[in-house]
């Protein structure tokens, strides 16, 4: 297919721990099309994070091929991988990974500092736009410790958006959040996917969260064991309405 953003074939990743070789990925094949919202599911230790790190060019596979946006990543060196991450990828982590004592705005601006073609004025404008997209216009000068977990994750999502990546990679992005806030974050991801056409790969082990995406890829023991369309995609906004009121995070 022409518009595959991600194409992985027979991908293997082994870790050497002392004498032991851990086979985290044993030969994965998958393809993700532009505009998809995909959940990578599986129990703990099944290889989800390892897969996502390779998709994010943070780690290098032991064997197999990975094409990102039509380019084979295998031959690239450290610097080229960094450029690729800067130009085409956005990350959202479970633990937000915001810089402490740094305002929301500056945190969001950060990826653009590593892109010398973006000037100071444009950098700020784009960061403001990203913060607006995640609904944090009124919190731009807040420091991370002045924000709730959900708000911090929104800042992190804004940061992943600011360089206009071809794909956003999220690893257990709702893992540290309560149910309601998780749905709020998922609503945001759904909006980014539906309204802005962002391709999103979302790692989670929670079926409730995975239901909110359009396709689930299920991992077990380093293999893809099952791929399924979610059929009628559930709206996170609807889910939020059905939650009992009162446990709203401030």
């Amino acid at each position: 297919m022409a518009n595959n953003i991600i194409e992985v074939s027979n991908l293997k990743k082994y870790f050497q721990v002392g004498d032991l070789t851990v086979q985290a990925l044993k030969g994965v094949n998958l393809a993700i099309r532009s505009g998809e919202f995909v959940a990578i599911m599986g129990t703990s230790g099944s290889g989800k994070s390892t897969m996502l790190n390779i998709l994010g060019c943070l780690d290098i596979p032991t064997a197999g091929d990975y094409k990102l946006d039509g380019v084979s990543v295998s031959g690239l060196n450290r610097n080229q991988l960094a450029e690729l991450r800067n130009a085409k990828l956005g990350f959202v982590f479970q633990s937000y990974n915001l810089l402490s004592r740094t305002s929301a705005l500056e945190n969001v601006e950060l990826p653009l500092y590593y892109n010398s073609s973006v000037k100071a004025k444009e950098r700020k404008e784009r960061a403001m736009a990203a913060l607006e997209a995640v609904g944090l216009t009124d919190r731009i000068h807040h420091m991370p410790n002045q924000l709730s977990g959900g708000q911090q994750q929104r800042v992190a999502i804004a940061r992943s958006l600011v360089n206009d990546p071809v794909v956003i990679l999220a690893d257990e992005a709702t893992g540290n959040l309560d149910t309601r806030t998780s749905y709020e974050i998922m609503e945001l991801f759904q909006r980014l996917n539906e309204d802005h056409g962002k391709t999103i790969v979302f790692v989670t082990h929670e079926p409730d969260i995975a239901r909110l995406t359009s396709r689930n890829i299920i991992f077990r023991d380093g293999w893809v064991v099952k791929e399924q369309m979610t059929g009628e995609k559930v709206s996170a906004a609807e889910m939020l309405k059905s939650l009992p009121v009162g446990d709203h995070e401030v």
Binding site: L58, D59, N97
Partner: protein
């Protein structure tokens, strides 16, 4: 990656922990400030000695009675009465390398005018005495040859003595003062000379014909010092040679070890003092330099700790597109900023300390541009040198390992 961005990143990173940045800089601040202040004090004392040299006449060569060794027994310098007027006359006739010569005798005592009195010293010389010692006359006149031969009771008076014993508005010239009960008529006032580098007030003195001091005040027949002016500074060595040869002939001395006099030159004296002050300066500078080095190690320590502490930050920066080189440069710029800003503050503090020492303690201080430039360059070098290892370590991290670091 452009450097403006890297500078901003580094600046922001430092500003996130201002107090820590300040503490880190403190070592450098103190190091640089002490280097500058120490060298300023050292240089100041050296310069004041050199100024002294020109104010006392760099051509000055003088003979003092020296220690005599007789049968291994050292005789005291001051008790020696070896210099006589005939020695001086012999030198005047025989040396071709001197332009002026004068005996010197001196004593101290109370000077009295009306009901004021003041302890001071009186120096006796001939008509060349003033020019040899680079004294000037502000008003009045010098004593004459005739006044020398007649042991005239006349004197020249220094500014300090004038202010201590004469009431305001009284012209000292023509007045008679008493020194050790001998009445002396003031015939001239010496120009103001100020303190010398040993803190001695050079205006606190009287000058009279040497005969007057020698006979009337001291009742001696020897002279305490012979002062000469070499024709030029370049000929001081030749003059020293002349004086030694002539004096040995006069005193019938065959071996230099038996000398009962010492010939010294102002230049030589200054050389000795400047070399002492050079040693002092080097020593002070070295101690200050060590504190600068300790400051540098402080930077390395903080940068090293900060690389470990900020591993996840490094991982994050890499994940959003930071290259190894960007991380390296960020940490290098951080450490260089710390040392350079610390250095600049240190330079300011060094100036301040020097000024305070200069005015409060009255020490002469001279801040050399070289020491400022040098310590600044050393700071920048320290930042780069001590920042390199931690920065290199940071840049070599694997993005995923850094991100996962606990």
């Amino acid at each position: 990656m452009n450097y403006v961005n890297l500078m901003k990143i580094a600046k922001n990173a430092l500003m996130r922990n201002k107090f820590r940045a300040f503490l880190t800089m403190l070592g450098i601040i103190i190091g640089v400030a002490s280097v500058i202040a120490m060298l300023a004090i050292g240089q100041g004392s050296k310069k004041s000695i050199q100024d002294q040299m020109s104010s006392m006449g760099s051509n000055l060569v003088f003979i003092m009675p020296g220690s005599q060794q007789r049968g291994g027994v050292m005789m005291g310098n001051s008790s020696s009465q070896s210099l006589k007027l005939v020695d001086m006359e012999a030198i005047r006739l025989q040396s071709t390398n001197i332009s002026a010569i004068s005996p010197e005798v001196r004593t101290s005592g109370q000077v009295v005018y009306g009901n004021s009195n003041w302890p001071t010293s009186i120096y006796g010389g001939n008509t060349d005495y003033l020019s040899i010692r680079k004294f000037g006359l502000e008003s009045g006149r010098l004593f004459t040859e005739r006044e020398i031969t007649t042991l005239a009771k006349v004197c020249l008076i220094g500014k300090t003595v004038v202010s201590k014993i004469f009431p305001k508005g009284v012209d000292p010239i023509g007045q008679t003062i008493r020194f050790k009960d001998i009445p002396l008529k003031v015939i001239g006032i010496l120009s103001e000379k100020g303190e010398n580098s040993f803190g001695q007030d050079q205006d606190d003195m009287l000058i009279a014909p040497y005969t007057t001091v020698q006979r009337r005040l001291l009742a001696i027949d020897y002279i305490q010092t012979i002062l000469t002016s070499a024709i030029s500074e370049a000929r001081t060595d030749a003059a020293i040679n002349d004086l030694q040869t002539i004096m040995r002939k006069q005193h019938k001395i065959s071996k230099p070890e038996d000398d009962d006099f010492r010939v010294m030159s102002q230049a030589e004296l200054v050389k000795t003092f400047t070399s002492i002050s050079d040693i002092l300066t080097t020593l002070l500078g070295a101690i200050a330099g060590i504190s600068l080095l300790v400051g540098g190690i402080g930077i390395m320590n903080i940068m090293y700790v900060s690389v470990t502490e900020r591993t996840r930050e490094i991982g994050l920066r890499m994940s959003i597109g930071g290259k190894g080189r960007d991380i390296l440069m960020q940490f290098l710029i951080e450490s260089t900023m710390l040392s350079v800003v610390g250095g600049l503050i240190g330079i300011g503090l060094g100036y301040l300390v020097s000024a305070v020492v200069g005015t409060m303690m009255g020490w002469p201080v001279v801040i050399m541009t070289q020491s400022v430039v040098l310590s600044f360059l050393v700071c920048a070098a320290i930042g780069i040198f001590f920042g390199w290892y931690p920065a290199k370590k940071a840049s070599n991290l694997n993005p995923i390992d850094a991100l996962r670091y606990e």
